[in-house]
Amino acid sequence: MVSRELIERCRRGERGAFDELVERTHRQVYTQAYRLVGDRHEAEDVSQEAYLRVFRSLGTFRADARFETWLYRIVANAAFTHLKRKGRFGRLIAEGQDPEPAGVQEARPVDAVVDREEVKRVLKELPEGLRVVLVLRDVYGLTMKEIGEEIGLSEGAVKVRLHRARKRLRESVGSER
């Protein structure tokens, strides 16, 4: 949790304040970047870019907003820029339209006890276009509107993609049982 006081100190350009901010948040930032780009080395580049953006735009951060949500959006944005640069953003847009994989059976009900490791593994195997929407919505709690703004899709398109991603996840987790 990042305090308002720490943010203020960063805004004033206090030496050491930004180090403290990095120290408190770098694990979360790295994890989110890794979940979005799916590669450890690339996640490091995305994290660096995200912090540069935080540093540059801290002045525009509204004091009444939640810092963590703002940070999630910046990391997502840095990840999408990275994917664009790598020529993978097209896949991000198109993969949501993938046909259902052959052989996937009807989803079995997923009970309350779910193996976290299995969910993480299935999540990693989802196509990028579905994974990013699911991660941003169900893991980081961004709204459909926020996700749409970041990827450049309408709210409706995000909803459709989220529905598909959840369905695939349920099917994959369910079919392993």
């Binding site: 350009g13 030496r15 930004f18 180090d19 990095v22 120290e23 770098h26 694990r27 979360q28 790295y30 994890t31 890794y34 979940r35 450890r40 996640a43 490091e44 994290s47 660096q48 912090y51 540069l52 540093f55 009900p109 997923v110 009970d111 309350a112 006890v113 779910v114 976290r116 969910v119 993480k120 999540l123 699911l134 169900d138 893991v139 980081y140 709690g141 909803k159 989220l162 529905h163 959840r166 996840l169 349920r170 987790v173």
Partner: protein, 87 residues
């Protein structure tokens, strides 16, 4: 969608927010080093821009440039007019 939110799957996904992947060794120090490099030139520039004396100096310099340009224009027009007057 509502069905999904009631499942253990949704709860598991939400709980991943608090679970972190361990970054590579030296990741935090590399980040800080990069930020420090960024701060090194950015911060002095920002401080300079906020300094009243710099602002006065910039305003004076701006005024001098505008004044000099105006004088140059007037001088040029006068010179042209003098060229056009028949001897």
């Amino acid at each position: 969608m509502t069905d999904f939110e009631d499942t253990g799957l949704a709860a598991t996904l939400a709980s991943l927010r608090n679970e972190v992947e361990e970054p590579p060794a030296g990741f935090a120090s590399r980040l800080n080093e990069r930020m420090r490099r960024e701060l090194r030139w950015r911060e002095p520039v920002r401080r300079l821009a906020r300094d009243r004396r710099t602002q006065y100096a910039a305003a004076s310099l701006g005024g001098a440039v505008i004044g000099a340009t105006a004088i140059a224009l007037i001088w040029r027009r006068a010179a042209r007019r003098a060229d056009r007057v028949p001897a």
